[in-house]
């Protein structure tokens, strides 16, 4: 009558409704999302044992729109406005890869000035995305100032893009053959002025956020993704660079005029949440230099768009082109059967690849580390769902 087993047997003999506690009973299942302030349009189920996460299962698809299927019903030009919907904060980059792939299929050469404007727009848009991402990272960690500042400074680049493209968020600016329109008057000066101001602001971000001891305590040595695991999981973008692999499509496979630009691939070696949150910040800094270089080297005049047929089509074939978006490599695999509509469009996005790292990293973490690990993966639920 001493051991728990005996007591249990005894209670059963007496007819008591006592149930043994199993391993599962200690776990609490929490559904993070889709109506959780820390999830986005995304759900993952976690199980916690005390304060530790022991199980995680992502369940995307809440904003799945079937972009790939929709693309098969529209011709190459009509596809542009809806293909930027998956990530409207980075809409120039997501249409950039598409335009490159279609240009390869149809066989168009983009004028040099068009290439430069494209690169400028995509760098500006990457800033917009990264600032938005950083704002959410701030509020995820309870730092409300870090939510407000980037959200406000985002306007700098949104205004620039509005002047450039005419739209504030969904630009539909990159089209096969170049860009939709030329830069407005005085764009260069305005752009340089605002980028310089933004570089000053970046120092303040570093002071209030990245050098904050509480922030460091919360993110350093949390959710460490080693170099080997990063390669094995095939993560992309800042997550990869934070794990010590200096891989950037702009450097590894320079598209358009990126081989004429002098810049460094920013990376860190630790692979923890801090590195994953700091690498995009370094990217923003580097991106400011890139924008200034691009503005300097841009040809003063010239065409910005190659002439296209109303309904462009190329010979049957396929193309796979990648660009570096705010969330890492973004590739379009387009198969054409010779008609003006693509036969198959596959969008390979960084978010979808980084999602695989989420259960890998979350298991074993504390519940309080969930936001800092999750959002440091640079995961954009809408883009992953496509």
């Amino acid at each position: 009558m001493t051991s728990l087993e005996d007591k249990f047997e005894e209670s059963k003999r007496l007819g008591l409704q006592i149930v043994k506690e199993s391993e599962e009973d200690r776990l609490m299942t929490l559904s993070i999302g889709p109506q959780h302030p820390g999830s986005g349009h995304f759900r993952f189920t976690i199980k916690v044992d005390g304060d530790y996460i022991v199980y995680c299962d992502p369940d995307p698809g809440y904003v799945h729109r079937g972009e790939e299927k929709m693309s098969e019903y529209r011709n190459f030009i009509q596809n542009i406005p809806h293909l930027e919907r998956p990530v409207i904060h980075d809409s120039t980059n997501i249409t950039y890869a598409y335009s490159l792939a279609v240009e390869e299929l149809v066989g168009i050469e983009v004028p040099r000035r068009g290439q430069y404007i494209r690169a400028i727009a995509s760098e500006l848009n990457r800033q917009v995305y990264t600032l938005y991402w950083l704002a959410i990272y701030g509020i995820f960690l309870g730092h409300s100032t870090m939510f407000m500042w980037p959200t406000g400074d985002r306007e700098l680049f949104i205004d620039l893009l509005e002047a450039l493209t005419g739209a504030r968020v969904t630009h539909a600016f990159n089209i096969p053959g170049g860009v939709r329109n030329d830069t407005p008057d005085g764009f260069k000066d305005r752009c340089i002025r605002q980028v310089r101001y933004f570089e000053k602001r970046l120092k303040e971000y570093e002071d209030i956020f990245y050098n904050n001891p509480l922030f460091r305590q919360r993110t350093e040595q949390v959710g460490v993704l080693t170099k080997e695991d990063a390669i094995k999981l095939g993560v992309a973008g800042s997550v990869l660079r934070a794990s010590g692999i200096p891989y950037d499509i702009r450097k590894a496979e320079p598209y358009d005029i990126y081989n004429e630009i002098d810049f460094k691939v920013q990376y860190m070696k630790t692979g923890d949440s801090f590195a994953r949150s700091y690498v995009p910040f370094l990217d923003m800094k580097e991106s400011c230099h890139i924008i200034e270089q691009l503005l300097d080297k841009m040809p003063q005049s010239g065409e910005v768009r190659a002439k296209l047929q109303p309904n462009p089509k190329g010979p049957p074939g396929e193309a796979y082109r990648r660009v570096e978006s705010g969330r890492g490599a973004l590739g379009y695999h387009i198969i054409s059967d010779g008609t003006p509509k693509p036969y198959r469009v596959k969008i390979s996005v960084g978010s979808f690849r980084n999602m695989l790292a989420l259960p890998f990293l979350l298991v074993g973490q504390k519940l309080a580390d969930m936001p800092s690990v999750y959002w440091s993966l640079n995961y954009w639920p809408v883009e992953a769902d496509r």
């Binding site: 302030p37 820390g38 509020i139 960690l141 309870g142 409300s144 407000m148 500042w149 406000g152 904050n212």
Partner: protein, 422 residues
């Protein structure tokens, strides 16, 4: 555009108004006046001009308004006034309301925003009223499976506990609702209720996130209550009393205790942030982790009451900081000696009390600003770091200052007949 209804008759409209007025008069005559008289017969009334104030005399104040002054003077010295108005609940709630407004504007300025702007023309000064009205108008949703009595009782208990702390806080000499000898101990005893209320409420909500939040609140209390009390202990050693008025008086006769116990003041400040569940210690309500913590299932006025309670608590702890370390109401005399020069009637204005209230309120707002500041500059802390901070660092720091205080007392520097005692 206002339009008349189809069957509108102006005569009927006037008639309805007259009926309304008539009914009001009838009710006042038949119910109101007798009620006033009944009350006035039972309430002990103060003597006015040498004779006891009878209800008939009371009614003559309609002829001579200056006769109300002795009544006001009498009323503001009753316990009821102290509990409900000053320095009790209304004063605290007013400060809480101003705190909310200041917090929003202050935070907005730090974050390069404008904050509330539209309600009430001037800088959104009526935003709080608008928010309050909205909360009152909202439906209160009780989750299915909730423990209903607890669910309803917890918000009221929360506000009541906050008000109970306020009742112990003196805002000026002799102005305290409950002047007890163990004032400081009573404050800590009542503060110990809050995590329990949070835990009960989270349990009653029948939901997972509130439950985790309630457990976190409990952890936080256990980790921070001890340094909280220890940091106040050095003040008790320095002043030799637990009575809050006595603590202030001993600072008036020497110097503010923050000069002798700065480490304790720091520990007290940090611990009160944790006690208030303010950023960076808002783990029980950590939004991105556990939705809204133990407040997840609150809605409408239940949420409003909990917010009111937490801001009243903010006032209480800021006032406690002022009393323990910043000399309470001590300060130079700035108010005029007489409000109306040459007035010789009944005095209800006392310039020393006015000075005390002014300095006390100013200091309280200074401390409240200090408590609001971390929200703009700091992220949320993690629970293991929080526990580590509480158990390993703050307790040790608090002990250091206790020894300093003991040395000051036994060295004859402070205490009865000390060097620095005036």
């Amino acid at each position: 555009m206002a339009t008349y209804t189809k069957n509108f008759r102006f005569g009927e409209f006037v008639g309805s108004l007259i009926w309304l007025i008539l009914w009001i008069l009838i009710i006042i005559a038949l119910v109101g006046l007798p009620l006033i008289f009944i009350v006035l017969f039972y309430v002990p009334l103060p003597p006015v001009n040498g004779q006891v104030l009878t209800p008939y005399l009371f009614l003559t104040m309609t002829v001579d308004p200056s006769r109300t002054l002795p009544i006001i003077k009498y009323m503001i010295h009753t316990d009821l006034f102290r509990i409900t108005t000053f320095p009790g609940f209304t004063y605290a709630a007013l400060i809480a309301a101003v705190t909310i407004f200041i917090e929003r504007k202050f935070l907005a300025k730090m974050q390069l925003r404008v904050g509330p702007l539209y309600a009430g023309k001037i800088e959104g000064i009526l935003q709080l009223i608008a928010d309050g009205l909205k909360l009152i108008a909202k439906e209160i949703i009780v989750p299915s499976g909730a423990d209903k009595p607890l669910f309803w009782a917890a918000p009221i208990a929360f506000v009541a506990a906050a008000a109970a702390v306020v009742a112990l806080i003196p805002a000026a000499p002799t102005w305290v609702a409950a002047n007890v000898d163990v004032g400081l101990l009573a404050v800590f005893a009542i503060l110990g209720f809050f995590p329990l209320i949070a835990l009960l409420f989270s349990w009653a909500s029948n939901s997972k996130y509130p439950f985790i939040g309630g457990l976190r609140a409990l952890h936080q209390m256990i980790a921070f209550e001890i340094p909280f009390i220890l940091s106040a202990l050095s003040v008790v050693i320095l002043s030799g009393t637990l009575n809050l008025t006595g603590i202030v008086n001993s600072q008036i006769t020497s110097y503010w205790f923050i000069f002798f116990a700065p480490i304790s003041a720091f520990v007290f400040y940090i611990s009160s942030l944790a006690e208030l569940e303010r950023i960076p210690f808002d783990l029980p309500e950590a939004e991105s982790e556990i939705v809204a913590g133990w407040l997840t299932e609150t809605s409408g006025m239940i949420y409003g009451l909990l917010q009111l309670g937490s801001y009243v608590k903010t006032y209480a702890l800021a006032a406690l900081f002022v009393i323990l370390f910043l000399g309470g109401w001590a300060g130079p005399a700035v108010m005029p000696v007489e409000l109306i020069p040459g007035y010789t009637g009944v005095q209800i204005y006392n310039h020393t009390t006015a000075d005390a209230i002014l300095w006390f309120t100013l200091k309280v707002f200074g401390v409240i600003m200090l408590m609001l500041l971390p929200r703009g500059i700091s992220p949320r802390i993690r629970i293991d770091i929080l526990l580590h901070t509480g158990w390993y660092k703050l307790i040790v720091l608090a002990f250091i200052n206790i020894f300093v205080a003991l040395a000051l007392i036994y060295g004859g520097i402070l205490g009865p007949g000390g060097l620095l005692v005036r």
